[in-house]
Amino acid sequence: MKRLVHAELFKLRTTNAWWLFALAILASTVTMLVVNGINAYSLLQPFNSFVNLHSHGHAGSIPADFLAHLRQEWTAGHDGIGQAAMLYTSGQLIGVLLVCLLGIVMVTSEFYQQTATFTFLQTPRRSAVIRGKLVAALLVAGLAWLVSTVISVAAGAAFLHSQGYSTGLGHWAVDRAILLNLAAYLLWTLFGIGFGCLVRHQLAATVSATVLYLIGATAAATVFELLNTYVLNQNWVLAAQVVVPPVASTVMVSATQAFEQSPPAWVGAVVLLVWSLVAIRLGDRRLQRHDIT
């Protein structure tokens, strides 16, 4: 098992996948850190300055309802701890998609690059190959989380300190956000490996997973809203949208309630875990029966 994990890590290191992945993790972390930093900068200002920033210096001429909206936004975000949690998990939005794609590519490239024959000749126990890929992908995802978190925490803490706020480190809400971020990285990696086993066509798998991740939550919200309005007007119908993986992920990592009827964070974690395990189990079974030609 150890040598299969080692071999998978070696295989990753000896193609350009390694550099592309590292570069994407770094670029997405830095980009989101800048976006979150600008957001935190304005929200952590006193309310008057916040309004001034949003109205480009014309605070006196903005309508009352917009002012009320700004007040609400500012009240929710004017919180050093909340902003710290947001800043320190900056890599998450794109990072979890990237580790999911990494998991998919680690499986599907065996078919895309026609190396499956070679791989399964060396290790005829196909489940062992998948387990090797799984552990290797989790290690890489953990490393991606670590790099992203170190960059985000260093830059975020320096920023908060410069603004006169505490870094928030050691505060449970902040530490919890960082740890749930790790859980998200790992669970999406599991999901990626399972998805890759199920959909072995590389392009089909990567495109459909990206679409699911990016618009799955919006699509789920719309569908469940319609169901709730026209089919079954119950609150649990809206809560049930947590079964959609990206919604589950959001529910799991949100510091506050992800949406009004949202179940607790652990439900999101369990849903994501179940999806991942089901995908892996089904994918593995399919692979066992598949003729490698």
């Binding site: 299969l4 295989k11 000896t14 070679f118 399964f120 000749l121």
Partner: protein, 321 residues
């Protein structure tokens, strides 16, 4: 230490069979894809110490058979074992069997050396085996080039290098001559015959009949998924030689033809000095010519080659089904 020296040293502890010999035994092997029976109740044995050619037209089921033998394709029925075990049940398969199934099975962006090193790591072999086998197949100069820059011949050599990583008892190669130049083909022939002479089991599939005649000691001929014939090349050709025409070259063709006809032979005279004789053996023709005092310059039986045998044996079977 040369690779061959390493091999003979290893022979004492080889994992394949009781004395390191691992025959391939295929019994009643069948693979059905829907309506199509790709491999149909195929039975044959490949013995160690010889090069066995696995011959058949394209689409005859050769590759499917090899893939079933290597645990990549599940048979509908029947078994294929190596040293009495299924490939998937071998604890360290690459140390018993080396296989090259397709020349294009490495990641395009990975170098040849790293391709082999990854295999060494996955199978617990010394990483130095990568360079040793690269050296063996003459690919050291291209070791650090990405696979996508390899010619078809270089890919075949890399395939053979990967098969030899575990210094296996059994070698299985699917159409290894594809893409090799004449020098490469000669190199491969020498290599495979050398490996067989060390007592290894070597099974090579091909549709290149002339190449097989030069390489193999024995052939298994399949057509339309079924066994057409198994045996040594001589054994397969011999029955076809019975009653084969005899060519005679003589300055007095008409006189000899008359003598032969009176002895019951059918004789044609394709050109001025040559006769083509049917129905009478070479030695009798010589005796007869001597008795009638006709000089003979040349006398030989038209021996059918493997290609003729192959075409005869697979005559009724469509190549593509």
């Amino acid at each position: 230490m040369t690779i061959h020296a390493q091999a003979s040293e290893r022979r004492h502890t080889a994992p394949g069979g009781p004395d390191g010999q691992s025959p391939i035994v295929v019994r009643g092997l069948t693979k059905q894809y829907g309506e199509l029976t790709a491999v149909d109740d195929l039975t044959f044995t490949v013995t160690p110490g010889r090069v066995t050619g696995f011959l058949g037209p394209n689409g005859a089921g050769k590759t499917t058979t090899l893939r079933m033998l290597l645990g990549l394709v599940a048979p509908t029925s029947g078994t294929a074992t190596i040293g009495d075990r299924l490939y998937a049940d071998l604890p360290e398969p690459t140390r018993v069997v080396g296989a090259v199934l397709e020349a294009s099975s490495a990641h395009r962006g990975r170098t040849g050396r790293n391709h082999l090193r990854a295999a060494c790591i996955a199978t617990g072999l010394e990483i130095s085996r990568a360079d040793a086998t690269l050296e063996m197949v003459g690919l050291m100069a291209a070791a650090d080039r990405p696979f996508k820059g390899y010619s078809l011949g270089m890919r075949q050599r890399l395939g053979i290098a990967s098969a030899m990583l575990g210094d296996p008892d059994v070698l299985i190669l699917d159409e290894p001559a594809n893409g090799l130049d004449p020098e490469g083909i000669r190199w491969m022939r020498t290599l495979l015959q050398g490996l067989a002479s060390e007592g290894r089991t070597v099974l090579v599939s091909s549709h290149l009949l002339s190449e097989m005649q030069a390489l193999a000691d024995e052939v298994v001929i399949v057509a339309a998924g079924r066994l057409a014939r198994q045996g040594s090349i001589d054994d397969i050709i011999a029955p076809l030689s019975i009653g084969a025409p005899v060519q005679v070259s003589t300055p007095q063709p008409e006189r000899l033809a008359a003598a032969l006809r009176s002895a019951g032979a059918t004789v044609t005279i394709p050109n001025g000095t040559a006769l083509r004789v049917l129905g009478i053996e070479e030695s009798l023709i010589g005796d007869l010519a001597f008795s009638v005092g006709v000089p003979v310059h040349r006398l030989y039986t038209e021996t059918p080659d493997l290609e003729d045998a192959f075409l005869t044996l697979t005559h009724a079977e469509a190549a593509i089904r």
